[in-house]
Symmetry: C2
Subunit: 410 residues, 2 copies
């Protein structure tokens, strides 16, 4: 008997029929002898419907009120799924984020979970109930409703699994696992049976949309085995786990890419300590997430500073950076929203030299100009013009033989 | 400067345009120098949409889950109205029933308010904010979401007004006040400027749908001046207040009627103490509200017991009563759902004899057979076959000269 946390996204609970199908799946897990906690998103379309109402009433909806508004979407799903379970004879009980005391900080729309009170949930499980928790939401110290930001239901599920010390956290989506790259871009992309937390984290932070990045961080930090599966078909999906548990490992696990980035550059900043903070501090204060950050020496004892943000934050970031740049006496601020980031990811990189060199050569052979490079221990990311996205992904997928399951190291 | 609680029903907040109009009205009240707390219902249609989803998933939706589900409707409106106020430059903040700690008992779907914590609301008002509270909902001791039953938003508003010691509680509806009877039945019905709590209570409990009965009870108990107004037109509406404040008083204030009643009769119950409790105890335990209750001596030391319930509870009540009747050795259980209750209401009755006699004569002249009679100090109700409803109302309205504002006592 295990304790399983299952998370179902918006399309999986998009209609009463689908909620019924989720109830059937949950009950199958119960009948296999497991305790089940279910975390649900809003029914697909509901969050957008609410956002649309909000925007009709306030041009830039107040962040606290927006969270109070959109959090109702998940609350509706929890009650409906509980009813579907009860109708099928399975005792169940719904909880909002506030009721299960998912305490977060006060960063409305982008809150971070600080603690979870598992007492009520444990009591229900002991009484044979399925517990249905609203994903994506929490409550701050003052009792205000907060949300974790879009996709935050994954994070809710993993955080609950960690707090409950669950045996596995299963994320049900509309895809049947993690692929070597997006099959819509490279039809020869292959589903991975296993991948490490680190690789998944790099895949997610590099643009793979399968899982929300913070959920993978959480899962890795608390060592919660995470499984991505399809709610529309059966299959083992992809298990995301510790490196030690992955016995056969390819050099490269996948090619990730992110269309949703924009680049900003501050040129000719007088080089002195604290430059990075002076530029990025106000950006962080505006709750804008910065992805890649590069700092190069420029001419005449000045430095050039480049970073990327999400498209949605591009204009706002430009405004902030222009103010800072002027204060710092920088020569020039420029930006480019028409870029993409392409990354190769794999823990095998650690033991195999020359991956970066091979990547750059493959791209150069296709005459793809590289605008930025950023590396981590198990990832190499390049920023290129957005028109090269498909070409870059397919060329790299082919060069690293990702379609062949035999490309493994012992 | 006064403290005003305003309550807006579902049609008043039925679209973003109407929510905007409500925001404008709230701001006009603020600009007149008043502090304002707004209590809102769900957007019209929303509660039914949610109920429909629930019924598709569970034939008889679980009561706790149903409250968790439908309470989202009001929460959505609070956030949207706050946004509309903020957009117009008026600081505002939304609260759910749980957040403002509207504590209720645990009778899901029909909960009763026990206490309200006014601390947060008072703090917001002191800071110049409009406070927007979700009507219809509360939270029990365990933190479960409860609802007060349909129309409960009126009760929420009055309870909040009482807790805050507000100067007036304004109930905005789709009618512009309280009428001598329903204008759809009697076109000569006249709007009343003032009516006493007691009369309004009798009108409401006798079927007038303008205000939810519990809200009038609350208002009378805590002496909260209550005003019914239209949210679609200007006008003073009808003020519901203490008898002392009503200087000119008609003998009869209005004719109320209720189509939503069904009659049950238990005949030939051996007459012994505790009969009423034995029959009605299990009915009350099933949370079914009983309206009129009559007990007559029958033949052979037995008693006949008659009472009315809402149509929706008719079949369930019959089942319960049949079990009890058999246990008590009663001769017969019968029921009739095709009845209506018609009532004449007025505090003037106290000082004017012969009202009942006049009422019975008027109905007899029209050959309307009276099936039950029930009287209070300021009300006389009769149950008649439903086909006589319109005839009875018009005849009584005419007989008591309710269309003439001159029919007053000094």
């Amino acid at each position: 008997m295990a304790l399983i946390v299952q998370k179902y996204g918006g399309t999986s609970v998009g209609s009463v029929e689908r909620i019924g199908a989720v109830a059937d799946r949950v009950i199958r897990t119960c009948r296999a002898g497991h305790d089940v906690v279910v975390v649900v998103s809003a029914m697909s379309g509901e969050t957008n419907r609410l956002l649309d109402l909000a925007k009709q009433l306030q041009a830039r909806p107040n962040e606290r009120e927006l969270d109070a508004l959109v959090s109702t979407g998940e609350q509706v799903t929890t009650a409906l799924l509980s009813m579907a379970l009860l109708q099928r004879g399975q005792d169940a009980r719904s909880y909002t984020g506030a009721q299960v005391k998912i305490t977060t900080n006060s960063a409305f729309n982008k809150a971070r979970i600080q603690s979870i009170d598992t007492q009520a949930v444990m009591g229900d499980l002991a009484a044979g109930r399925v517990v249905v928790v609203a994903g994506f939401q929490g409550v701050n110290e003052k009792g205000d409703i907060t949300t974790l930001g879009r996709g935050g239901s994954d994070t809710s599920a993993v955080a609950i699994a960690a707090a409950l010390n669950a045996d596995e956290c299963q994320i049900y989506t509309d895809v049947d696992g993690v692929y070597t790259t997006d099959p819509r871009v490279e039809p020869r992309a292959r589903r991975l049976d296993r991948i490490t937390f680190e690789e998944m984290l790099e895949m997610a932070s590099s643009g793979s949309k399968v899982l929300q990045i913070r959920s993978v961080e959480f899962a890795g930090k608390y060592n919660v085995p995470l499984r991505v599966l399809s709610s529309f078909s059966d299959g083992a999906g992809t298990l995301i786990t510790m490196e030690d548990d992955v016995v056969e490992q390819a050099v490269i696990s996948g090619i990730a890419f992110n269309r949703d980035e924009a680049q900003l550059t501050v040129k000719g900043v007088p080089d002195s300590p604290g430059i990075a903070y002076a530029i990025l501090g106000p950006v962080a204060e505006a709750n804008i997430e910065v992805d890649m950050i590069l700092q190069n020496m420029g001419a005449d004892n000045t430095t050039d500073f480049t970073f990327t943000v999400q498209h949605v934050d591009y204009e706002k970031t430009l405004d902030i950076v222009r103010v800072q740049a002027e204060a710092l006496g920088a020569r020039e601020v420029s930006g480019n929203p028409k870029i993409v980031k392409v990354s190769v990811v794999g823990v095998g990189m650690r033991s195999h030299a020359g991956i970066a060199a091979k990547m750059f050569k493959v791209l150069a052979d296709e005459k793809i100009n590289i605008r930025m490079i950023s590396t981590s221990e198990i990832k190499i990311s390049v920023v290129v013009d957005d028109k090269y996205l498909e070409l870059a992904v397919r060329t790299l997928h082919d060069a690293f033989e990702l379609d062949a399951p035999s490309a493994l190291i012992g």
